[in-house]
């Protein structure tokens, strides 16, 4: 493209921050609908910053079954926001919302943005609710979407790089060890390698322990400009970088099943934030399936391409390991109510705020929140930093 058409990335690094981050109804929350759950989480997140719904003039939300969700939820909260976003890219939607919110806040389009999500899918349906029409190019073959798409990525990674079933198991076991430190995690029983290897097969090489949970749950974060953030919450998590990349929708159209859009998204987000992989204190990834953790760590440069399986072995990403990954227990053991992206953002922000109790990693200055949508289709990276990290950049 001619250079006259290209403007350098001018993301407003550090000029907005998350001042409240909360969850609600983790695991099972019968009797609430999607918006009830999102409202509970929203009120908690706003209260952390001393705010109420009437101060919200920017609103971002998607839910599984309502395409105009921002309108529904504005009405539910009784507000008339001047900025709304219900961009739907699956589980990464919320990272896209945060990126857009950072721009909108910086441009003075709104002052207080609420990003929310809620789902009653476990209590209402008991399974993942589909938000997409069946594809004529896939439906005749009865794919078990989305599991079979991720399973074929895992099969390909194992074929190319010698990644093993036991290494996938290490991902699941590390997530479970973190979940055991989190009272809000849905599944907290010990998971051994024998227990993992003996679990029921679903789509080779995956068994049920390679797959995310089906739960209820809600999350919310509140974003404001840096000036207000300093006033409202000394522990605020500043948005230092935010980028995303879309590569495909259907798995057959993904150029390479072992390289995701996370690679390009991370390059841009890290550049905006002026950080590298080794600077992060905690990494919250969208681990809908065990292979995800391996793929995304490689994509973001935490280890060389193809080395992810070996990198996560021997407890490297578990509590006490060299790199704390998915400190809430992830979508494998903590929560996965249809879309998980906002939960990585809440956990990353809370780790910076220092409010994570037994699972708190000491002295977190820089945290990564990752989102994944569709079938490795939409990948997003948020770089969050403490006030000190924001000042030093």
């Amino acid at each position: 493209m001619p250079s006259s058409r290209h403007k350098p990335d001018a993301f407003p690094s550090g000029r907005s921050a998350i001042v409240g981050a909360a969850t609600f109804g983790m695991g099972s929350a019968p009797g609430f609908n999607n918006f009830d759950l999102a409202a509970h989480a929203s009120i908690k997140a706003l209260a952390q910053a001393g705010l109420t719904a009437k101060e919200v003039d920017g609103l971002a939300i998607v839910v599984m079954d309502e395409t105009m969700s921002a309108l529904n939820f504005a009405e539910y909260l009784g507000i008339q926001p001047r900025f709304v976003d219900n961009t739907r890219t699956g589980g990464s939607s919320f990272q896209l919302h945060a990126a857009a919110a950072a721009l909108a806040l910086d441009a003075g389009q709104c002052d207080v943005v609420l990003i929310a999500y809620g789902s009653d899918q476990r209590s209402a349906a008991g399974k993942l609710i589909s938000s997409s029409r069946p594809s004529p190019w896939e439906a005749p073959y009865k794919p078990l979407r989305p599991i079979s798409s991720y399973a074929m990525a895992a099969a390909r990674h194992m074929h190319q790089y010698g990644t093993t079933k036991r290494q996938l198991g290490e991902v699941a076991i590390a997530a479970r060890k973190w979940a055991r430190l989190n009272p809000d995690a849905t599944v907290r029983e010990e998971l051994t390698m024998e227990g993992y290897l003996g679990a029921r097969m679903v789509a080779d090489p995956f068994n049920v322990r390679d797959c995310c949970l089906v739960t209820d749950g809600a999350a919310a974060v509140v974003m404001v400009r840096e000036e207000l953030a300093r006033e409202l919450n000394p522990g605020a998590a500043y948005v230092l970088g935010a980028a995303h990349e879309t590569t495909h929708r259907e798995i057959a159209q993904m150029p390479d099943l072992t390289v995701t859009g996370t690679a390009a998204a991370a390059r841009r987000a890290f550049s905006q934030a002026k950080v590298t992989a080794k600077d992060f204190d905690v990494v919250e990834l969208y681990d809908a399936f065990t292979i995800n953790t391996i793929l995304f760590l490689e994509d973001m440069g935490f280890c060389p391409r193809g080395e992810g399986g070996r990198f996560i072995s021997d407890g490297a990403i578990a509590p006490g390991g060299s790199l704390p990954v998915n400190t809430n227990g992830g979508s494998l053991s903590c929560v996965h109510p249809g879309m998980y992206g906002l939960f990585t953002m809440v956990e990353a922000a809370q780790q910076i705020m220092g409010v994570c109790g037994e699972r708190q990693v000491a002295g977190v200055e820089l945290a990564l929140s990752h989102g994944n949508g569709g079938e490795l289709s939409s990948e997003a990276v948020l770089v969050l930093g403490s006030a000190a990290a924001a000042r030093s950049r």
Partner: protein, 119 residues
């Protein structure tokens, strides 16, 4: 050109057809009104060779008495990749890199492109 309609009309006659751009020579699947990236609309239908290679594969496990079945991504000799399944052997015996050949079968009263090992 009505890509989806025409593709399935060919298939109903027992023909597996791919689109090709006259200017770039590149093959396209799934069918569209324009070539990806270039937007070229100079597309023509060409018979697929039916040859391909397994790019990835999985076995979808079911509770008995329902049988497990294969799901695969096939790299066609012409370039594009498609979802399908490989038949004629146990689903777990389908391996990445295996050479396969297309055949058209009828399933639930519709023509479907599946693959079998190309010996």
């Amino acid at each position: 050109m009505h890509p989806e309609q025409e593709h399935f009309a060919f298939l109903a006659k027992g023909e597996f057809m791919l689109q090709r751009s006259r200017s770039s020579g590149a093959f396209i699947y799934y069918p569209r009104v324009a070539e990806p990236r270039t937007g070229a609309t100079d597309l023509e239908w060409v018979a697929a060779s039916g040859l391909g290679t397994v790019y990835s594969t999985t076995v979808i496990r079911q509770k008995p008495p329902k049988a497990d079945y294969n799901l695969a991504l096939i790299d066609l000799a012409e370039g594009p990749r498609m979802m399908s399944r490989v038949e004629g052997l146990a689903p777990q015996e389908v391996k990445i890199g295996m050479a396969v050949r297309a055949k058209i079968i009828r399933e639930e009263d519709k023509p479907v492109i599946v693959f079998e090992p190309a010996i």
